[in-house]
Amino acid sequence: MSVSPRPDTPDVPSDVEVELLTEAPSIAAAFATGVATGLRRPGARGELPGRRLVLTGVTQDVARLADFCRVTGGLIEDTVPATWLHVLTFPLQVRLMASRDFPFPMLGMVHVANEMRVHRPVRVDEELTLSSWAENLAPHRRGSTVDVVGEARVRDEVVWEGRSTYLVRGDTSPGTSAATEDPGAAEPVAGDRAGDDASPARQIALWRVPTDQGRAYARVAGDANPIHLSALSAKAFGFPRAIAHGMWTHAKVLAALQRRLPQRYEVTVAFAKPILLPSVIVLRGTGAPGPGSFAVTNRDASRVHLSMQVTDLG
């Protein structure tokens, strides 16, 4: 690893510091650092690290992609899922959030929203340059939100962008009212108000999610947050049972919608009520082919787990 002010990374504003990684960071090591140093964080009074983590020359592992597709219900093909690119950038995200200059303790952060833009189909045989950075620290009625941004390039071309919005509960920066919300945020925690416009009537699919779903996804995605792994480890964090990864649900929905996705599209997701494992969940959405609004709910649609909007970028 080297920290250099100007490695060969085009289109990065010249005043942005770049940390060039030589290999994918170890998620386990980052988790360990994050937990060990989690108590010494300034919270919303602190500042986000300004640097971008960049990893070049990333080749995609077909066997791992096949596992990812199996666990998320998709079919491996030459074009990779958008959520797979999120998984590839996830180690950079975790490393950034675990680093000592990140203001929040990692384990208290809740992934409330995700936004991805696929600028063109990305092939499994393409070599990628991945980067990640944090921005947009904003007050929220229940604390603060921060966006961790990911980007995938093929040579100089930005092919994929992802934005994960995390909520840090009860931590508001000084001098702001807890009631203000950032209008720019992708409507985080929208599903708290169950039954919003987020549950279009038509049932598209019904899925039985088994108890070990969190462990299965953790193996392929590397996200071994204890709230997903077992009832016991989830209880330690206040959940009655293990909960499904939000990004697993996201990936599962995109895999189910596979043929309805345009070549270039934007998908925004709000994660609402957690899916307690095991569960029966239902994908609902607009009936017509093509993009539209979708939601994952429980059987009678009284609880919304995820709401999604897919937009054609033309």
């Binding site: 077909v62 066997a63 597709c69 491996i76 093909e77 030459d78 499994v124 045989d125 596979q258 043929r259």
Partner: protein, 428 residues
């Protein structure tokens, strides 16, 4: 029903390069390979969102969960979801049999277009549980009380836990296909040298075809594979001669891993239609399906070789069409084993075989070797069982189109169960 049959023309095809078992497609299921191949076909012929008459395909090694394999592939593809599909299985004859089915429906006017072919994965083969475990699990699922369930499961013995992997063996004889063919090779006196020569030619021809760009509009790369994985352009008769026999033990054994097809993964599809449908879609017709025949032999007790059925099917087909072997410009004889091709051709040249087994007055004749498998065949490309028919038909149609209208090609594919599927194709 129309008074006159319409033509069923071949408009092209698409396959993925064939992989070696455990190779590039080790992690791809039949459904993934078939869907990718179908999407490649749809992209090549501009069929996105279109309803075609039907898609017929199959797989020989097939998971129970893939009961609707082809329909699932259609639903996962860019074709209109209103395209019907079905699965068909006739061992290694699957691909060609689907072509015959689709062509017949087109000729009868029932459909105006269709896609035919198949897929197979030796890497992702289904594994069944042993009979003891299966019975116990079925019993437990029928049980109404926890006690009854526990009792049913208690019947499982450690020996029941060993899985049953699919074997390349005939259920009625217990012999593998290679062991069967070794008997045939010995009966026909097929030499090791002749087999190795045919195998080397297959590799050299296929390598030349790839180099010349012959497959540019017949194949689409998949999962980083851009050429057939088992292809060895630099193999030679000398190198092949150094391999030890694997089938037919002892003195005089001739069949090696080099002159037998390897286990492979892959998929291949062919697009067919009426001449009108082709014109509407501005697609040139490459060839038309003239006729087809399927033969079966009693290899269990009748004293005929397991893979010799095409030796019977071809003479019947030629008689019906009034053709001889001299009337063909291209021969595509599936190379299950080099000795299969050689024994089949030897049978057609044998006065005794043609008289006693086929009831002919004279030998059927000789195959001009310069017209045989000119762009390689299964020994070099590999043989994902149900995919081979689609590979051959699409390639042959392109070759005949290049030769010109009226050129003729003969396809001959042997299959497990003592069957053989053959067809006559004519260039447009």
């Amino acid at each position: 029903m129309p008074d006159q049959l319409t033509d069923a023309v071949i408009l092209g095809g698409n396959r993925i390069p064939f992989g070696k078992a455990g190779g590039a497609y080790a992690h791809a299921s039949n459904q993934a390979m078939l869907t990718a191949t179908l999407d490649g076909l749809v992209a090549r012929f501009g069929l996105a969102g279109e309803r075609v008459g039907e898609v017929a395909a199959g797989a020989v090694l097939k998971h129970a969960r893939d009961f609707n394999l082809t329909r699932e592939a259609v639903l996962g593809s860019a074709l209109s979801a209103s395209t019907p599909a079905y699965d068909l299985q006739q061992a290694c004859g699957t691909g060609l049999e689907t072509v015959i089915q689709v062509a017949n429906k087109i000729r009868l006017g029932q459909i105006d277009s269709g896609v035919a072919g198949g897929v197979d994965s030796a890497s992702d083969a289904p594994i069944a549980v042993g009979e003891g475990l299966r019975k116990a699990l079925l019993g437990a699922s029928r049980a109404r009380t926890p006690m009854a369930r526990a009792k049913a499961l208690a019947a499982i013995r450690p020996g029941d836990l060993a899985p049953e992997t699919p074997r390349n063996a005939e259920p009625r004889t217990g012999l593998s296909m290679g062991e069967h063919q070794a008997v045939t090779a010995r009966e026909w006196g097929i030499s090791r040298e002749a087999q190795d020569e045919l195998a080397a030619a297959s590799h050299h021809n296929l390598a030349r075809a790839w180099d010349e760009g012959f497959f540019d509009d017949l194949a689409t790369g998949f999962l980083r594979l851009s050429r057939d994985e088992g292809l060895r352009p630099d193999t030679s008769v000398e190198k092949l001669a150094s391999l030890s026999p694997v089938f037919g033990k002892g003195e005089g054994a001739t069949m090696t891993a080099g002159n037998s097809t390897p286990l492979s993964d892959g998929a291949a599809l062919v697009l067919l239609g009426t001449p009108e449908w082709a014109a509407e879609h501005r697609l040139p017709a490459l060839a038309r399906i003239v006729d087809a025949e399927v033969a079966a032999v009693d290899y269990v007790s009748g004293g005929e070789g397991l893979l010799m059925a095409p030796a019977y099917a071809v003479p019947r087909l030629l008689a019906r069409q009034g053709l001889t072997l001299a009337d063909f410009d291209r021969f595509e004889i599936h190379e299950a084993f080099a000795s299969t091709v050689l024994a089949t051709m030897a049978a057609w040249e044998s006065e005794e075989f043609c008289r006693d087994r086929l009831g002919l007055d004279a030998p059927l004749g000789s195959v001009d070797r310069s017209k045989l498998n000119v762009n390689g065949s299964s020994l070099a490309a590999g043989h994902p069982f149900a995919a081979t028919g689609g590979r051959i038909v699409a390639s042959l149609a392109k070759m005949l189109h290049e030769i010109g209208p009226g050129s003729r090609g003969l396809v001959s594919i042997c299959a497990a169960g003592g069957q053989g599927v053959v067809a006559v194709v004519e260039g447009c």
